[in-house]
Every structure is written in structure tokens, then in C-alpha cells.
């Protein structure tokens, strides 16, 4: 996917995150579009691009919120990179992959956010954070992830998807 499309998508997600998503709050949480994007990019294009998209979305979000700059950049970059590590090990066509990786990515990313917030003196009890934010958001993100992933997968360059399929078939033959 061209870089300017990625930047445009990220900017649109940043705006939607602070406006549109406020109307789709379920169980007290809103989904994290930027995290979904980072995980989807990681799974499609590998850890470097996953981390880059996560970092870009996160830093824009941080600058817009104006509280702890770097908090979301760090957590989303980690989520994107971790999803990217699974890139070569899983079948990208399988929609269960974005579901699972987004759930795990959200939990790890939000635990990182919790840890940083705790370290700077924002002491929310872990049980409250877990019950009120981390678990509901992980489920919500995971449920939405196959939809976003499917769109991005369809719009991934055909040469990329074909090359990926070829690499996988070669590696399975070697085994």
C-alpha cells in the first residue's frame, strides 16, 4: 500500500477516534482504530511496518491529547511489531488471525499504558483497569478487527500477496 494512503488512513483514524467512536461506546469503552490499524499492518506487511504505523498513529494521538506524549506511540508500536512477528508464521487469509492477534495486542498494549500511567503516579487499581478498560476493549477491538483487516487485505498490492503465497509454499515444501 502506498505510503500516502497509509498516512491518510492513519489521519482519518485519528479524527474518527476523537469524534465518531464516541457514539459507539459499548460496555463503557470505545474501540481503538489506531491499534487495529497497527495490528493489521503488522500482520500484512511485517513487524517494521506494523511498528511504524502504530508509532505514527500513536504519536498523532498523543500530540492531539496533549498529556503524556509518547504513551500511545510506544504501546501501539509494540502491538504492531508483535503482530508483525507472527506475519511469516500464520496464514494471512485466515480471519481468525487478526481476531486473536488484536486481542493479544490490545491486552499487551493497554497493560503497557497502564504500567506507564502507574509509574507516573496515576494509580488506578489494576482490577479496575482490567475490568473497566483492558478486557472490554480487547474484546471490542478483536470483534472489529476482521472487518478492517479484510478491507486492507483486499487492497494490499497483488504482487505482495502473490509473493507472500509463493514464499509460504516454498517454505512448506522445504519442511
Amino acid at each position: 500500500m502506498k505510503w500516502w494512503v497509509t498516512v491518510g488512513l492513519t489521519l482519518a483514524a485519528v479524527v474518527a477516534q476523537s469524534t465518531l467512536l464516541d457514539k459507539v461506546i459499548v460496555f463503557g469503552v470505545k474501540p481503538d482504530l489506531l491499534l487495529l490499524l497497527a495490528v493489521a499492518y503488522g500482520l500484512l506487511y511485517g513487524p517494521v511496518r506494523g511498528a511504524a504505523v502504530g508509532f505514527l498513529g500513536g504519536i498523532l494521538q498523543d500530540l492531539l491529547v496533549g498529556r503524556l506524549i509518547g504513551l500511545h506511540a510506544l504501546s501501539k508500536a509494540v502491538a504492531g511489531a508483535l503482530a508483525g512477528l507472527a506475519e511469516r508464521e500464520v496464514f494471512k487469509e485466515n480471519l481468525a488471525m487478526p481476531f486473536l492477534l488484536t486481542m493479544v495486542g490490545t491486552v499487551l498494549s493497554e497493560l503497557l499504558v497502564y504500567g506507564v500511567l502507574y509509574a507516573v503516579g496515576r494509580h488506578m487499581p489494576l482490577a479496575q483497569a482490567w475490568k473497566q478498560v483492558i478486557v472490554p476493549e480487547a474484546i471490542y477491538n478483536a470483534v472489529l478487527s476482521p472487518f478492517l483487516y479484510r478491507i486492507l487485505y483486499r487492497h494490499a498490492p497483488s504482487w505482495y500477496v502473490e509473493a507472500e503465497a509463493l514464499t509460504r509454499s516454498r517454505s512448506s515444501l522445504r519442511r
Partner: protein, 312 residues
């Protein structure tokens, strides 16, 4: 040398990680000013946020209207029946209205609370589930400065914590970093009210023997000099005491989920906020109480405090 150290990506990741940690460390305390990057990005995205917010509001308003149609129809029928049974209701209401106007004049509410407000539209919300903030379409160009109180007709919303040229970010009362001096209207017992990242707030009293009951109104105390005294904050919904500490759970007066328009207090005699830029208000004797919908985006002077307030 291991292969990873020869990779360009490794160094890019390393620099990014270190830079992020440095940024995190530098911004962990509340700052008095914003960086150019923050200011530029926030101002650049503000028009997009405003358009998106308006579109979302229009769509959700339509759905809400459709959902309410059935309820309104049955309510209308019920009210017609009630009205038919009480022919004198209209006259009675008119009398009460006249009496109400007279009482308002007698009280001269405008004299008692010479605050000045600037109305603003909410164009954005906190984009994560950890902070409770909102963004308004007024900034330093409109005279907004950090720490100004933000209210609605119902009561206190929060305070301004970040200002750019065309926008300002407001920390809501429910945010965990929010703490305000407050008192119980009935007993005058004071304490600190804090957000808990939940719908309700927690008030911790200075006096362990504080006289507080469920249903009591909580107001700003004006002690921390950020908020003018007497703005309604909420009502006590639960009282608890542990040894030397007495606490109360307070249900906020403002519905934070449905905020579309707010008022920024640009001047108050107690805080002197915005004093150099704004002339002292000249309240008129016959001014009515604060209008339900503030008159446009211009500055409003000499209106009453949010309704339900008890001026100490």
C-alpha cells in the same frame, strides 16, 4: 558483531524508542505550554474534527429522534388526557410564571454572580479509554487561557488544561488527574473532589465528622482559586467513612456523555481570570436567569451561574 547491529532498522527503532522515552519523561508532569507540533496538529485537525462531530451529531440525532417517536406519541396521548382533566392548569401556570419573574427580579441573581462566559462547541473527545477530556473550538485567539473553568447550565464540567490558537482541551471532572476544592451546600463541610475514571466522583472531607447526607448538593468551594465559588458539581449519592477519613460518592450534575456546547468562565471576581483582557461586567437589573441556550458563540457577560447553584 551480531547481524542485528548491522541493520539500519535496529538503529531507527533504537532512536525512536529512546526519543519516545525522553518525550514521556519530559511530559509526565502537567505543562504550562504546548509544543509547536501539538499546536499545529491540533489546529490543523480542528476543522476536520468539527465537521466530523457535526456529521456524527446529525446522524445520531436522527436515530435518537426515530427511537423516541413511539415514546413521545404515548406521552403526548397521556398529557392530552391529563390536560383535559385539568382545565384551570393554563391559568395556574401563567400565574406561577408571573410570580417566578417577580422573584427573579427581587433576588437580582445577576448581581450575585457576575461571571463572564464564552460559549464553545465540543468538537472532539478523548481518543482513548484512559483519559476523560474533550476539545472545544475556542482557543487563545478567543482569550481562553489555561485553568479556566468550564461549565454548562447544569454545573461544572472541568478545567482547560491545554490551549492552542483555535482550540482548547478540557479535563473533565471524572478524569483521575482532576481534583477540585468543594463543599456540601447544606452543612458547608469542605473537601477535595476527585475523578475516579468512572461516572461518579469521590469527595474526601477535611473534617472526619463532616455532616453529609445522601442527596446533599456539592458546590465548588473556591478555595483552590481555579474555580469560582458556588458552581454546582453534583449530588451526594453515597456516604462512607473509614476511621479518620470520611468520603462521599458524588453523582455529577453534568451529563458528560451528551455534552455538545459548554461555557468557559473567562472572568470571575474570585479568580480574576482573564481580567486584563476583559472589562468588568455591567449586569443589567432586569437580566433574566442564564438562558438554556447561550446566545451564540460570542462572549456573554453577567449571566447567572449554572442553575441550582447556591451562592454562599
Amino acid at each position: 558483531m551480531p547481524r542485528i547491529f548491522r541493520s539500519k532498522t535496529f538503529y531507527v527503532v533504537l532512536v525512536a524508542a529512546v526519543a519516545t522515552l525522553v518525550l514521556l519523561g519530559a511530559t509526565q508532569v502537567e505543562r504550562t505550554s504546548v509544543t509547536r507540533a501539538e499546536s499545529w496538529l491540533t489546529d490543523a485537525l480542528a476543522p476536520l474534527q468539527a465537521v466530523s462531530s457535526r456529521a456524527v451529531r446529525a446522524v445520531s440525532g436522527t436515530f435518537d429522534a426515530i427511537a423516541e417517536l413511539g415514546r413521545l406519541r404515548s406521552e403526548n396521548q397521556h398529557l392530552r388526557e391529563v390536560l383535559a382533566q385539568q382545565p384551570g392548569l393554563q391559568t395556574q401556570m401563567e400565574e406561577l410564571q408571573v410570580e417566578n419573574e417577580q422573584l427573579r427580579r427581587e433576588l437580582d441573581l445577576t448581581k450575585r454572580s457576575p461571571l463572564r462566559y464564552l460559549s464553545a462547541d465540543v468538537i472532539g473527545r478523548s481518543s482513548d479509554n484512559w483519559f476523560a477530556t474533550l476539545t472545544i473550538n475556542r482557543g487563545s485567539h478567543d482569550g481562553i487561557t489555561r485553568d479556566m473553568a468550564v461549565v454548562t447550565e447544569q454545573g461544572l464540567v472541568g478545567r482547560v488544561f491545554k490551549v492552542t490558537g483555535r482550540t482548547a482541551s478540557v479535563m473533565l471532572l471524572t478524569d483521575r488527574d482532576s481534583g477540585i476544592g468543594s463543599l456540601v451546600a447544606q452543612s458547608r463541610d469542605a473537601g477535595i473532589l476527585r475523578g475516579q475514571d468512572q461516572a461518579d466522583l469521590t469527595m474526601r472531607f477535611f473534617n472526619p465528622d463532616a455532616q453529609v447526607n445522601v442527596g446533599d448538593q456539592v458546590l465548588t468551594s473556591g478555595l483552590n482559586s481555579l474555580f469560582p465559588k458556588g458552581i454546582p458539581v453534583g449530588r451526594v449519592s453515597q456516604v462512607s467513612g473509614q476511621g479518620l477519613v470520611k468520603e462521599a460518592t458524588v453523582a455529577p450534575a453534568v451529563d458528560f456523555y451528551h455534552l455538545e456546547r459548554v461555557l468557559v468562565v473567562t472572568w470571575s471576581p474570585a479568580t480574576g481570570m482573564g481580567l486584563p483582557a476583559l472589562p468588568e461586567p455591567q449586569p443589567s437589573q432586569d437580566s433574566p436567569a442564564a438562558p438554556a441556550n447561550p446566545p451564540g458563540p460570542t462572549e456573554t457577560g453577567g449571566t447567572t451561574p449554572p442553575q441550582g447553584g447556591v451562592t454562599p
